[in-house]
């Protein structure tokens, strides 16, 4: 694996799960993918000569021999780019590299029972959960919510798993009362996992709170997108270069693409290694490292996550 570009892979098969859902199998070009813990997501890079996207998707499965990974992608608004591109142009042979794999939604292994609640494409992390829970004999149940027109697609996706532990609910009509009843019946020791659209997760969290769940037992998945924000320009005081940071690339990536050796380690705003001095402009701090004083001072920026509030930022690089 190359620490910057990750694992090189290509799409080896595409499966139309439903009109708006595609399942992709990715084959590692050289060697194997690492073992993967349930709930992991990858950052996948793909595109064409005009544009490269880097999107996060849950990893649904990794083959025993480690040669392939599976993801399921829903077509999103064309303006969102990446998923729409994959949906249309994700054919066998397309290069897709797996830049990194991490797990922000792990199974709570000390839990006695696990209740998973998902809506739509939010099912994906739970497919890997169930494989593992089945194997290691954990106690679990899955309640999935879907639009009526996709019921059969999700039933097909779920068919390899233990049907006695799965319920697929159509629409949200009866959902409200069924969910509170379900939660009230659960033993107090159960852990609750939620994945789906923001509004769905909020609804489940609220219903759970009303049913007396402590927040520590309610886990939800939110992707930390590695990019996002307005376009801005960066002037590099030492080299005299000017570069543009696009909407869905990070400042660090833009620097790297311009061939500038920028320091970094975690790429997630946690270590402080990518700190660079700001000479002019107002940084938009999104890290977890800088102190309140450093933020207010505006003289430093962590390039891996932070962006700019002003149209131009001048850096000491």
């Amino acid at each position: 694996m190359n620490p910057v570009t990750g694992y090189a892979a290509t799409i080896s098969s595409v499966d139309m799960v439903a009109p708006a859902l595609r399942r992709f199998v990715l084959s590692c070009t050289k060697g194997t993918f690492p073992a993967i813990s349930p709930g992991s997501h990858g950052i996948f890079a793909f595109g064409n000569e005009h544009r490269i996207w880097k999107n996060a998707y849950s990893i649904v499965n990794r083959s025993e021999d480690g040669k392939t990974l599976e993801i399921i992608v829903r077509r999103a608004e064309p303006s969102r780019g990446g998923s729409d591109f994959l949906y249309r142009h994700g054919k066998p042979g397309l290069n897709v590299s797996v830049i990194s794999i991490s797990n922000l939604f792990p199974i709570f292994r000390t839990g006695r029972r696990h209740l998973m609640i998902s809506a739509g494409i939010g099912i994906t992390p739970f497919l890997s959960y169930m494989t593992e829970m089945q194997k290691s004999g954990m106690d679990y149940a899955l309640h999935h919510y879907t639009r009526p027109e996709e019921t059969s697609a999700f039933k097909a996706i779920l068919s390899p798993y233990d049907q006695s532990r799965i319920r697929v609910n159509e629409g949200r009509q009866n959902a409200v009362s069924s969910l509170s009843m379900l939660l009230e019946r659960e033993p107090i020791t159960s852990h609750l996992y939620v994945c789906g659209p923001d509004s769905f997760m909020e609804w489940v969290r609220q219903t759970a709170a009303e049913a007396g769940y402590v927040t520590a037992k309610v886990h939800s998945e939110r992707f930390v997108s590695p990019a996002g924000g307005r376009v801005f320009e960066v002037r590099l005081a030492r080299s005299g270069k000017t570069i543009t940071v696009g909407t869905d690339e990070t400042l660090l990536e833009a620097l790297e693409n311009a061939g500038i050796a920028a320091p970094c380690l975690c790429r997630g705003g946690a270590c402080g290694m990518c700190r660079v001095a700001v000479i002019d402009g107002r940084p938009d701090h999104r890290d977890h490292v800088l102190t309140a004083d450093e933020r207010d001072g505006g003289n430093v920026i962590l390039t891996c996550v932070s962006r700019s509030l002003s149209p131009t930022l001048t850096l000491d690089l």
Partner: protein
């Protein structure tokens, strides 16, 4: 190391003590001070196969003390089996550890260790310890010990396994036989913040919040390392709280004259790995001991250590338990410090040792 390099067959990490370091072992010591002053910091860097001294250049370092250290470990475990505990939910992490250790040892030291894999059927050979083991990966019944214990017995240093839950890390397993005054029995099941609570100043500096956030994001395939240090009287690996009555009083017998033989710089090469199946974090602590008389053989190090110890923050000196003998160590080292400038970094800046 290759099979031609001889491992030491004699050595004793308890009284009567005997620890000898070859010139090569001295020059590859991970001297922990890149500057003339020391303050607690996160000082984390990627654990890549490169570094200013040779001991940093392998995933798990094996040196001339390997065989004797593994024997000492086995002895401690037979006296106190509770030095190795792994909670039941960490089973996947145990196999992750086996895979990481066997893969990297056989890759870094092909003369010493050999692994062949045929699907789930694995064959492991450890030549220095005479182990030849066929087993089925994932089936604990095919190994003579639980997987984690089987492997950790064949490696120098301590290992703990951290489960990641609730945005925190929980020490839910480990084998700890060469620790600097902490105890697995006591810390087992603790969270990251709980087990770091005793370090002075670092908490108020926000270092642990940052450290924890950083570790929560640690990725598979991108391990990190840091060096930590303290001092130990006599070459004693096992300075555990349980044995304090044995080693604690040693600290009172140091004098200006015997400091060079009794006082050892104790360096921990700490490495952290994300384990892929379990999402747990492996924390490996490899301990190196070097007496002041050996440090005095390296021109740059003896000057720097003098300055660091002389100017050490009193709170850190107390925390590290150096107060009873620090002055004697400083007195011994002061004869070498002629106020010259030293170079940055930890490299010894010399290829050979001249014995006077």
């Amino acid at each position: 190391m290759s099979i031609d390099t001889t491992f030491r067959s004699a050595g004793s990490y308890r009284a009567p003590y005997l620890l000898e370091n070859s010139d090569a072992a001295i020059l590859r010591f991970p001297f922990p001070f890149p500057e003339d002053t020391y303050m607690y910091s996160m000082n984390i860097e990627p654990h890549v196969k490169a570094g200013e001294v040779d001991s940093l250049r392998r995933t798990f370092d094996v040196d001339e003390h390997y065989v004797v250290e593994c024997q000492e470990k086995a002895r401690i475990l037979s006296e106190d089996p509770k030095r190795c505990i792994v909670l039941p939910h960490m089973q996947k992490a145990e196999w992750d550890f086996i895979e990481l250790a066997m893969n990297s040892l056989s890759e870094d030291y092909p003369d010493l260790f050999h692994l062949s894999r045929d699907g789930m059927r694995w064959h492991w050979i450890n030549r220095p310890l005479n182990i030849d083991q066929h087993f089925v990966f994932g089936d604990a019944g095919t190994l003579p010990y639980a997987p984690f214990e089987f492997m950790a017995r064949q490696m120098q240093g301590d290992f703990t396994l951290q489960d990641q839950r609730d945005n925190d890390l929980w020490m839910d397993g480990g084998m700890v036989t060469s620790q600097a005054d902490w105890s697995l029995k006591f810390d087992l099941g603790m969270s990251f913040k709980q087990w770091h609570a005793p370090v002075p100043k670092a908490g108020e500096m926000g270092i642990f919040d940052r450290g924890l956030r950083f570790l929560l994001m640690l990725q598979h395939g991108m391990p990190v390392r840091r060096l930590n240090w303290t001092m130990t009287i006599n070459p004693r690996l096992d300075t555990s709280p349980e044995n304090f009555t044995i080693w604690g009083r040693d600290r009172t017998v140091v004098t200006d004259d015997n400091a060079k033989d009794l006082v050892h710089l104790r360096v921990e090469l700490q490495t952290l790995f994300r384990l892929p199946r379990s999402n747990a974090i492996l924390f490996a602590v490899r301990c190196y001991l070097l007496p002041l008389r050996d440090i005095a053989l390296v021109h740059k190090w003896r000057i720097r250590l003098h300055r660091v110890l002389r100017d050490l923050d009193p709170a850190l000196s107390a925390y590290k338990g150096l107060d009873l003998y620090r002055a004697h160590a400083v007195h011994y080292l002061s004869q070498f410090d002629n106020n010259e400038l030293t170079s940055k970094g930890i490299s010894p800046d010399q290829d050979i040792i001249v014995h006077m």
